[in-house]
């Protein structure tokens, strides 16, 4: 089998597990929505809400991501599935990429939901160019988050107390994504009078992040799970 087909197989397996269990659809997505509503309760001002909507969308994404990453590796370590994959001689780089792709697909779906929620609840009104920029931002940020989530998820996989450890490890690492994606989305939504063109350098930052952690994850995932 080529690496590409292994990547596809691993990604399909993760997504099939999700379609079977529907944890993301039935639990994580509603959780993300509740977070968005809670933000509205906490801030309690429509002007402020539309101004800070981009940051809230990405914070809700990060919180939801923590849950999805836990889930992605709970599935693997529950029955020693990750060990089985390794014993079967499956390329660790392909496992890493496959799981990352599955995570990216789920995250992207969540982000679409969150942006739509912000549109409805927070009253943001992007221009057509703004929608395009928001889309590119979401793609770039999702790729980076998918890589970094899989890498740190794999690091904590199979250890006791990983549920509480993962946020501590992951949140500081994704700070650049939160900064970059929030600023780019602000530009896309025109929050606080930002223009669409201001967002592109931040998307560059997101792309750099994605490339770096894609490379680092491919190099490090093998030694991490090879025990």
């Amino acid at each position: 089998m080529t690496r590409g087909s292994v990547v596809r197989a691993v990604a399909r397996k993760d997504l099939a597990v999700e379609m079977g269990s529907r944890v993301v659809i039935n639990q994580v997505a509603p959780f993300a929505l509740v977070v968005m509503v809670m933000f509205a309760f906490a801030l309690d001002n429509e002007g402020i809400l539309s101004r800070v909507a981009p940051g809230l969308v990405w914070l809700a994404t990060l919180f939801s991501m923590l849950v999805v990453v836990q889930r992605s590796f709970a599935v693997e370590s529950a029955d020693g599935a990750l060990d089985a994959l390794r014993v079967a001689g499956v390329d660790p780089v392909a496992i890493f990429l496959g799981k990352s792709v599955a995570l990216m697909v789920q995250l992207f779906a969540l982000e679409v939901l969150l942006v739509c929620t912000a549109f409805v609840l927070y009253g943001v009104e992007p221009s057509p160019a703004g929608w395009a920029e928001a889309f590119v931002t979401m793609v770039a940020a999702t790729v980076g988050l998918g890589f970094v989530g899989t890498l740190y998820g794999g690091l904590a996989a199979g250890a006791r107390g990983r549920e509480t450890l993962l946020p501590l490890l992951l949140l500081p690492v994704v700070a650049p994504v939160l900064i970059g994606a929030t600023r780019a989305t602000e530009a896309a939504f025109g929050s606080g009078g930002a223009s669409v063109s201001e967002g592109w350098p931040w998307i560059g930052l997101l792309a750099v992040f994605a490339v770096l952690f894609g490379a680092a994850g491919s190099a490090a995932f093998g030694p991490l799970v090879d025990e």
Partner: protein, 248 residues
């Protein structure tokens, strides 16, 4: 040499001599920092915080660099020994301690000089991230599993931190440069320093560096002893199970 036996200690003649040197240097630093050196023209006595603050962050950077080097050494094929991991862990612990010291002294100094404990300055923010990152690293070291698992996991994490920290620093700097017009005070400003003040600062750096070396030497031996105890506990448990099985 593996220190076993009931009276295993972490000291050697060399570390005791080093410890003595550290004590003398610390006394000198206290005298020089609190009495001999003059007050600053602008900052008054608050400048004395710098004699602790600057050496602390210096030691922290040195500690994290040592952690990264030892982690790289552990992961490279030729030098795979758990000793590297112990030094990496000891160094990171001490690094976290000194980042905390520099954050606390820095915010006290900020309160006196800028009138606030914290400003969202790029350097402060990335130092806070540095602190959290290595607190996470220390948590990963306590995840359990075998020594080799611990060593591998934490080595990978330490090298990822080398990638993460410049990235966080860069993005925080971008974030600040676009969102804050002028800092409350510019900590980068060139300051003309009085000779004795400069001497005290240099003395602080030397003292803290020696202290760091002394602490790392002891701490990595403590880790060795802890690992030995954990190992022996396992051996004893296995032996007692065997005896039980034999008795039946």
């Amino acid at each position: 040499m593996t220190p076993t036996g009931a009276h295993a200690t972490t000291g050697t003649p060399a570390t005791r001599r080093l410890g003595l040197v550290v004590c003398v240097l610390l006394v000198l630093l206290v005298l020089s920092g609190l009495w001999w050196s003059a007050e600053d023209v602008v900052q008054g006595s608050t400048v004395r915080i710098m004699y602790v603050h600057v050496p602390s962050i210096w030691v922290a950077y040195m500690a994290f660099a040592l952690t990264a080097v030892c982690s790289g050494a552990y992961l490279s094929r030729g030098t795979r020994s758990v000793a590297w991991d112990r030094v990496a862990g000891a160094s990171a612990e001490i690094g976290v301690l000194f980042v905390a010291v520099s954050l606390v002294t820095g915010s006290l100094w900020g309160r006196l000089t800028w009138g606030t404990y914290w400003v969202w300055d790029a350097r402060l923010t990335s130092t806070a991230f540095l602190f959290i990152t290595y607190v996470g690293y220390l948590a990963v070291r306590r995840l359990g599993g075998t020594l080799r698992q611990r060593a591998r996991r934490s080595a990978v994490l330490a090298l990822l931190a080398v990638l993460e920290i410049p990235l966080v620093h860069f993005s925080v700097e971008l974030w600040r440069s676009l969102h804050q017009e002028a800092s409350v005070a510019n900590p980068n400003a060139k300051v003309e320093m009085d000779g004795l003040m400069l001497f005290t600062l240099m003395l602080g750096l030397a003292t803290f560096t020696a202290l760091f070396v002394w602490l790392v030497l002891h701490r990595q031996r403590v880790i060795l002893l802890e690992d030995t105890v954990a190992d022996r506990g396992l051996d004893e448990a296995i032996a007692s199970r065997r005896d039980e099985a034999g008795a039946r």
